[in-house]
C-alpha cells in the first residue's frame, strides 16, 4: 500500500515536471470591471480574452502557456495604481492592455514604467498619456488634440452652431477634452457662452436653467455616459432639444437607456469604431456574441486590437530571443518599434512616444435610442 502511494507521488511529480517545462506567459487587462463604467471595462477585457484564445496555440508551439489575467481598476486612479503595482510584482506578466480612463492610465503607467511592463491602451485619449514620453506607454486610439478639434469641426461644420455651451465632468478626461474643444471653437470664431465643470450625478436643474436662458445652438459635454445620460434626460424633459455633442466617453449602449425618451439629437466622436464600420469585424462580432453572450461594442474591438498588438509584440520579442519567453524589456521595445497587422482597425505602428502614426475618428449619432455612424475623420498625431 505504501509502495503504490510512493510510486503515485513519483508519477505525479514527473507529470508536474513535464508541465513546468512549459513557461507560463501572462498578459493582463486593467479596466473597470465593477462600478458605473464597468460596461466599457468588461468590453475591453472580453475583447482581449478573444485575442488570447486566438493566439494560445501559437504560443503553445513555442512552449509557452499563454494566460490572460484581468485586473479591476474601478475607474479610480488610486485603485488602478495599486493594481499596477500588483501587476509589476507578477513576473510572468509581460504586458498590459489598459486602461479605459486616462486619469487611471497616467499614474498606473508611471507605476509600471520602472519594471518595464509595456502598456497598450485601447481607449485613453488625454494628451499627457503619451506626452510624458514613457517608453512603456502606447495607445492605438487618437489623442484629445485630435478628438477635440474633430468635435469642434462637427459642431461648426455639420451642426452650423454659432453659440456653444461647454460642460465637463472635472476629470482629466473630461476637462482635457472640453479645453481642446473650446480652443478649436474659439479659433473658428464660434461663441462659447459657458465652460463649466460639474461632478453632479443626478441634479442638473441649475445648469439646465442656465442653458435655457443662454439658448445655445449646441452643447458639448466632456464626460462619461452615466453622467451625461442623466443630464440629457433632464434637458429633454425640460423641453430643450439642442444637439448634445460629446467624446468617446458617451460610447456605450447604456447612454440611450439612461437618457430614455431623450436619447435623440446626440452626437459623439469616438476612437472605437462601431463594429459595422470595421470591414473585418463581422467574424469578431459573431465570435464575441458566442463566447460572452453579449453584443460586441467599439471598446471590445479595441480591447481585441490592443491585445493583438501586445501578443504580436511578445511573439516578435520571443523570435529575437531564440524562441524563448522574452523579458519585459524586450517586449517593451518590440511593441514600440514593431508594426502590427491583421487588426480590426487597420495596421498599427507607433511613433517615438507611443502614439499611433495614423488613426481614424468616428462621429456617431443617437436618434430615438438608435446608434448610427454619422461620419468618419482620419487623424494623424503632430509628431510622426
Amino acid at each position: 500500500m505504501k509502495k503504490t502511494a510512493l510510486s503515485l507521488s513519483v508519477l505525479a511529480a514527473l507529470a508536474l515536471g513535464s508541465a513546468s517545462a512549459q513557461t507560463t506567459v501572462k498578459i493582463a487587462t486593467l479596466s473597470p470591471l465593477s462600478g458605473g463604467q464597468s460596461d466599457l471595462g468588461l468590453q475591453i477585457r472580453n475583447g482581449a480574452q478573444l485575442a488570447v484564445n486566438e493566439y494560445k496555440a501559437q504560443f503553445q508551439r513555442l512552449g509557452m502557456n499563454l494566460q490572460l489575467v484581468a485586473y479591476d481598476d474601478q475607474a479610480d486612479p488610486a485603485t488602478g495604481t495599486a493594481q499596477a503595482r500588483k501587476i509589476a510584482s507578477d513576473r510572468a506578466i509581460l504586458a498590459v492592455v489598459g486602461t479605459l480612463n486616462s486619469g487611471v492610465a497616467i499614474p498606473s503607467s508611471q507605476a509600471l514604467a520602472s519594471s518595464r511592463v509595456a502598456m497598450v491602451s485601447p481607449a485613453n485619449t488625454a494628451n499627457q498619456v503619451t506626452d510624458r514620453g514613457l517608453s512603456n506607454m502606447n495607445r492605438i486610439v487618437a489623442r484629445d488634440d485630435a478628438q477635440g478639434p474633430a468635435g469642434a469641426n462637427f459642431i461648426t461644420g455639420n451642426l452650423k452652431a454659432k453659440k456653444v455651451y461647454i460642460l465637463n465632468d472635472k476629470t482629466a478626461y473630461g476637462e482635457g477634452l472640453a479645453k481642446e474643444v473650446e480652443k478649436a471653437l474659439k479659433a473658428k470664431g464660434t461663441q462659447v457662452v459657458g465652460n463649466e465643470g460639474t461632478e453632479e450625478k443626478s441634479d442638473f436643474s441649475s445648469i439646465v436653467a442656465k442653458i435655457r436662458l443662454q439658448k445655445p445652438d449646441a452643447i458639448y459635454f466632456g464626460g462619461i455616459y452615466n453622467q451625461v445620460g442623466v443630464f440629457i434626460k433632464q434637458l429633454r424633459e425640460n423641453g430643450i432639444t439642442t444637439p448634445v455633442v460629446g467624446g468617446d466617453g458617451l460610447d456605450s449602449s447604456e447612454l440611450a437607456t439612461i437618457a430614455g425618451k431623450g436619447a435623440s439629437n446626440i452626437y459623439f466622436t469616438t476612437v472605437a469604431a462601431p463594429i459595422e464600420a470595421l470591414p473585418a469585424a463581422k467574424t469578431f462580432a459573431a465570435n464575441f456574441q458566442k463566447t460572452f453572450n453579449d453584443g460586441a461594442q467599439g471598446f471590445g474591438a479595441f480591447g481585441y486590437d490592443a491585445a493583438k498588438v501586445v501578443l504580436q509584440g511578445i511573439l516578435k520579442a520571443a523570435q529575437a530571443n531564440g524562441n524563448k519567453a522574452p523579458s519585459r524589456q524586450q517586449v517593451e521595445a518590440a511593441i514600440r518599434k514593431g508594426s502590427f497587422t491583421g487588426l480590426l482597425s487597420g495596421n498599427v505602428s507607433f511613433n517615438s512616444v507611443g502614439d499611433r502614426k495614423a488613426a481614424t475618428l468616428y462621429v456617431m449619432n443617437v436618434e430615438g435610442g438608435k446608434y448610427k455612424l454619422a461620419t468618419s475623420v482620419p487623424v494623424r498625431p503632430v509628431r510622426q
Binding site: S202, S206, I207, I258
Partner: protein, 337 residues
Amino acid sequence: MDLATLLPFVVNVIVGGLVLGFVYAIIALGYTMVYGVLQLINFAHSEVFVTGAVVGFEVFRVLTPSPMNGYLKLGVALLAAMVVSGLLNVLIERLAYRPLRNAPKLVPLITAIGVSLILQDTLRVIEGFQGRFDLTYTLPDGFSNKFCAAESSCAGLGNALRTVGVDLQLKDVILIAVSLLSLAVLNYLVSRTRLGKAIRAVAQDRVTSGLMGIDANRMISATFLIGGALGGISGVLFGVKFGTVNAYSGFDPGIIAFTAAVLGGIGSIPGAVLGGLLLGVIQNLIGVSNIFGSLLGIANLEAIDASYQRIGAFLVLVLILIFKPTGLLGKSNVEKV
C-alpha cells in the same frame, strides 16, 4: 438681458431648488428623528434612503407591463419602499446600535459608517447579479410631462404659476404633494398620538420615562421604523425626480440632508424641513451665480460655476457651526447640574 427674461429664470431656479429641497427635507427628517431620541447620527441613513430608491426601481420595473394606473404604481412603490426601508432601519438599530447603547458616543458613529459600507456593497451585489448598475426608472406615462402644458387644462394656482414663468413637470408636483402629505402625517403622529407622546418622553429622558412604564426599546424601534419609512419615501421620490440611482447614489444627498438637519437645528422636525428647503435653494442659486456674474460684469462671481454647488452647502454648515451651533430652530442644551 432684460428683467422680463431674467425674472422667470430666477423664479425657476428658486422653485427648482425648493423641489430639490423637499427631497433633502424628508431625508433630513430621518437623521433628525433618530438624533432627537438617541443623540446618535445614523450615518447609515443614506443607504436606507438608497434602499428605498432601489425598491422603488424594482416596483416600477415589475409593474411596467401592467396596465395599472400610474398613481397606483407610485403608491405601491412608496408603500413597498416604506416597509423595506423601515424594517431595515429597525434591524440596523437592533444589530448595530442597541448592543452599543452604553458605549462612548464615538463607537456607534463608527458602526454606523460600517453599516453604511456593508449596505452599499450589498445593494451593488444584489443588482449586479442581474447585470445592472445604474438603475433607470421606467416611469408611468405622463409623469415627465409639463405640469399645466396647455392653457385650457390649467386653473387657479397652476395658471398663476404659469404666468410668473414657473416651469414644473408633473413629477415635481407629485414630489411636493407626497412630501407635504408625509410631513403632515409625521406631525400628527409625533404631536397628537400616544405613540408620539411616548417617543417624545423617551427623547426627553429615557430613564424617567422608563419609570413611568414606557418601554424605551420599543419606542426607539418605532423611531427607527418611522425614520426608515421616511428614508424609503425620499428614495422613491429621488428616483422619480432624477431617473437613475445606483448603490452609491446615497452619499451626496445623504451628506447634504445631514447638513440640512444641522442647519435647521438637529433634533427639530420643522428645523429639518427648513434646512432642507434652504439648502436646495442655496445650492441652485450658487449653481447659477456665474450667470449673474456675467450679466452684472462681476468677474469674481463669474468664476463660481456649477462645480461649487456642493461647497456652498458645506460653507453654510461651517458658518452655522461657528455662529449658531444649535442651528436655526434648535434649542440649546443646558447642562443641568
